[in-house]
């Protein structure tokens, strides 16, 4: 029971990180109907920027943890957003009218480029970060097994919830959100009605990148070590989460993220850790075969 609870806590934490990345996938897919293959690598860049920012703060002598976290959060979000913007501008916008495989291939090229860009400039070795947030408290105890919720896990979940809330409000209440929803439904018409479609799409990429940056920050302080390749696998899993939750649905992305996090954690805990990625990928395949609209998505009827 204790083991189960601990895995539950771990799974939800991991799931929050996946959920934040998944939102980026689902938003981009909703608005321009393509899978942003490079999104996982944006997450990776966010993690690197967060890591480097922590190092800078450490050198500058700012060690008060909440302040450092806040600064790194803002910095990472800002700078990663620019990457998100640049990727859309260079690799996707020119292809908006083109045949459907072109943006996907361009995205794959962008993904490879970003991975190697970071690898060349920062080195291929793993980069460790000393623990930033330490400590936790005990939830329950029986025998020699203690179930601990670390402060870090609380931070992650709380930040995720807050961001989700803020974001949902943004989509539902503000004009940007309205513009985005309009573009999702009918891009041409939205443009004819005076919505700046290019800017709306850019902002979608930017916000997706910002959220991925938060996920990257969480990742680096949770796992303590990153390398240029983390974007690849995390990207596929986050995309699986987006599909599982229903592509195009924001709460679906979060829900999917939590589920994937739980599945991965429980699989590693109770079965085998080597095949945990296989478990996640299998979920993707199964969902796409049997329930392509995911849990919270709506079916797409193609007009003949």
């Amino acid at each position: 029971m204790e083991y189960f609870t601990q895995q539950l806590i771990n799974g939800v934490t991991l799931g929050s990180i996946y959920g934040l990345i998944a939102i980026g996938y689902t938003m981009v897919y909703g608005i321009i109907g393509m899978i942003n293959f490079a999104h996982g690598d944006i997450f990776m860049i966010g993690a690197f920027i967060a890591l480097i920012s922590f190092l800078v703060l450490g050198l500058a002598g700012i060690t008060f943890v909440p302040l450092a976290l806040l600064i790194v959060l803002v910095v990472a979000m800002m700078f990663t957003s620019i990457y998100g913007w640049a990727v859309e501008r260079l690799a996707y916008r020119p292809l908006r009218g083109s045949f459907r495989l072109a943006p996907l291939i361009s995205a794959i090229g962008m993904s490879i480029f970003l991975q190697n860009y970071v690898q060349l400039l920062q080195g291929a070795r793993v980069k460790p970060l000393p623990p930033v947030v330490q400590g936790g408290f005990t939830v329950m105890e029986r025998g020699d097994f203690t179930v601990i919720v670390s402060y870090l896990q609380i931070v992650i979940v709380v930040v995720t919830v807050v961001l989700m809330g803020a974001f949902s409000m943004l989509i539902a209440r503000t004009s940007l959100g309205r513009a985005q929803r309009a573009c999702e439904q009918d891009r041409v018409m939205a443009g004819l009605l005076g919505i700046n479609v290019d800017r709306t799409i850019s902002l979608t990429f930017v916000t997706g990148a910002a959220l991925a940056a938060v996920a990257g920050l969480m990742f680096v302080i949770y796992y303590g070590v990153i390398d240029f390749y983390i974007g690849f696998v995390a990207g596929i899993k986050a995309f699986t989460a987006a599909v599982l939750g229903g592509i195009g649905s924001l709460p679906g992305a979060m829900l999917g993220g939590i589920l994937i996090g739980l599945i991965e954690t429980f699989w590693s805990a109770y079965f085998t850790i080597e095949y945990k990625d296989v478990a996640a990928f299998s979920i993707l395949v199964l969902v796409l075969i049997f329930r392509p609209n995911g849990l919270l998505g709506s079916p797409e009827i193609e007009k003949v």
């Binding site: 393509m34 899978i35 860049i45 690197f48 890591l51 480097i52 190092l55 800078v56 700078f79 620019i82 640049a86 260079l90 690799a91 020119p94 292809l95 083109s98 045949f99 459907r100 495989l101 072109a102 943006p103 996907l104 291939i105 361009s106 794959i108 090229g109 962008m110 993904s111 490879i112 480029f113 970003l114 991975q115 190697n116 860009y117 970071v118 060349l120 400039l121 920062q122 080195g123 070795r125 980069k127 460790p128 970060l129 000393p130 690849f232 596929i236 995309f239 599909v243 080597e274 095949y275 990625d277 296989v278 990928f281 993707l284 395949v285 796409l288 075969i289 392509p292 193609e302 003949v304």
Partner: protein, 445 residues
Amino acid sequence: MAVVPDAPARSIAPGERRLDLAAVLKEAAIAGLIALALGFFIIGLKTDTVPGGLALKGRWDWVAIAVAVVVAGRLAIALRRQMRPQAASARREEIANRIADGVKTFARYAGPALVVMAVAFPLTPFANRYYVDIATLVLTYIMLGWGLNVVVGLAGLLDLGYVAFYAIGAYSFALLAIHLDWGFWVALPFAGCCAALLGVLLGFPVLRLRGDYLAIVTLAFGEMIRIILLNWYHVTRGPDGLSDIPRPSFFGLEFARSPEEGVETFHTFFGLDYQSLHRIVFLYYVILALALVTNFFTLRIRKLPIGRAWEALREDEIACRSLGINPTNTKLTAFAIGAMFGGFAGAFFATRQGFISPESFTFIESAVILAIVVLGGMGSQIGVVIAAVLLIGGTEVLRELEEFRMLAFGAAMVAIMVWRPRGLLAHRDPTVRLHQAGAGGGSPP
């Protein structure tokens, strides 16, 4: 057609020149700022591994160079756009089309000549071990490219997990050779069948998915196969890989310096001194033969109904359904045939190296093969050859730049897609004509 962001549209009469220096400078400045923001952390602050953790090193000179390059480039583009008439880009497009047409015509006549050259190549004096080796590698990728071309280029199914079939071909051949003592030529068809079978199994549940989803799912499959190969130690020996894979023989003649009992060697049979080059050259001819078979098969099948159905499916699946074409079977066939050729190539790879491990079958391989198909022009045979020679041969020859190879791949993929989404040689010839070629035929500009 420009790769870079566009300035606000301004109508310039043809021939008119107007220089708005302020706008151009502003554009360049903004580009520079963006480059600065992008490069600030990743370029400017390098993390070095030192005992105890990480240290930071400033690299601001690199940032300065990067920003300068971006600003200069942007200035140049903005200036040129302002000074030249608008028709420039359309003319460039037409020149590119003309070049592509030229290459295509060249290919039609020079194709056979190239084949003769390829056959004669190892017999030329400057064909030393190094060059024959590179040529063998390039031919392997050409064959893989032609195989994937059936799936992606003809049928339009974006397969990101092609390396899985390459791997299955390699591993099934290796296992058959090691455990059952089968020779290369006997095991080759089985390797192809295993790969084709895997293709059908993987394809069947997912082929009705739309383009993007299919791509991701095939990617996931490729990764799953690699993870299974890595962890199923009992059969595949995991990361240790399978070694001592036997090399192919020339009608029973082995290519060894000192053979086992009762086995005749190539050099003694032909009365030559033993040279390791013999085996290398033989391997070259094997892959050349395999590649030519792939090519012949593809050229032929394009003129058969299934080949046309693939291309039609790529163009419009709903229209195909309305004509009575069964999309699932048609796609599965493409998938299986593409997989089969991947399997053949994998078996060759195993026998050439003598040793295989899951490390050789990563997603990057799939991406490289896809890059070759896409850059060359989907569906174009000669395009694949050119792309493979450039990408594989080029980076082998420029070995010192190995680190930049993948970076260049990625950038090239983006650049080609933005510039010519249909690939370098995207022009397509019809497979059946009503009139004679050149009389009332050809595609509109």
